[in-house]
Symmetry: C2
Subunit: 187 residues, 2 copies
Amino acid sequence: MQPLVQLRDVWVLRLSHRAQRDARVTTHVALVARAFGARGMYYSGDRDPGLEESVEKVCRTWGGDFKVAYVENPVRFVREWRRRGPVVHLTMYGIGIDEKAEELRSLEGPMLVVVGSEKVPRVYYDLATYNIAIGHQPHSEVAAIAIFLDRLYMGRELSLRFDDAMLEIVPCERGKLVRRRSRSANS
Amino acid sequence: MQPLVQLRDVWVLRLSHRAQRDARVTTHVALVARAFGARGMYYSGDRDPGLEESVEKVCRTWGGDFKVAYVENPVRFVREWRRRGPVVHLTMYGIGIDEKAEELRSLEGPMLVVVGSEKVPRVYYDLATYNIAIGHQPHSEVAAIAIFLDRLYMGRELSLRFDDAMLEIVPCERGKLVRRRSRSANS
């Protein structure tokens, strides 16, 4: 169940999910978090079983034990996390990632990476150990998570494999090549 | 009107936009393309004035002359682009970006980066100069564009500034600091 590349423990917290409006963007946040080596995604806002199911479905096919869990009170959740490890809030207003990447890589304890949907309440800027910008232009929390994890893991996340995957891609110049694997051994 | 960091000419083509389902994800694709240094985004599928307006609104505030344009016949568009420059199709089935990044950086002519929404027809795999994977796990075209441009521009895109921006962020450890600029000079 462990990914074949060992990466440090990172979890994502997605704030203020709105089941109607954010369904696909939050799913993308979760899939990027999984594909780029995070252990799971917590989310607050609307509880959304459809979101949880669609991420679980990806895990059943492509492997890994990425978790999705709902958080009732995200402020308290972040405050409690701070006792165990660093909290990094991604915001275009923060300090540029490349200025802090080395420091972030040296931190101990499980890391929580917080991304908002629309306006993030001030309390998160105060509670976060770091407010980090992925560039200072408005863009996307999906891209922000990807670049953040890429800097944290220094590109190693792109060779992530899950040894319990049912399907695995064989890279090719044109078209699609997929290998079906049994749960116990390679086919 | 020119960004203050000079980057090579890249355009994005977003295939099969569905105005209802993809509105926000396609907007994220466009905003990431702009923020990470691409010149503009073409899109096919449903024509969507709301999408175009929301990207234009970001440009008015944050600067630059990022273009969004609708393409009626994307297969013909890609075929014609090939006469002028390389076409890179981003797909989890392709060759890993880090294997090809140096080669891609050395190419000449304007580059078109193609991303799909759901299933991409086989013809694009054949027409593309390169089929490139951003990892071989399912995730998001938004993240794929971000990492692709980051590899192409070697991180310089994160310091992109637009000299005609009305607002500009001053990075800070906590909270939000925004500087209002006049169109002709810094304030």
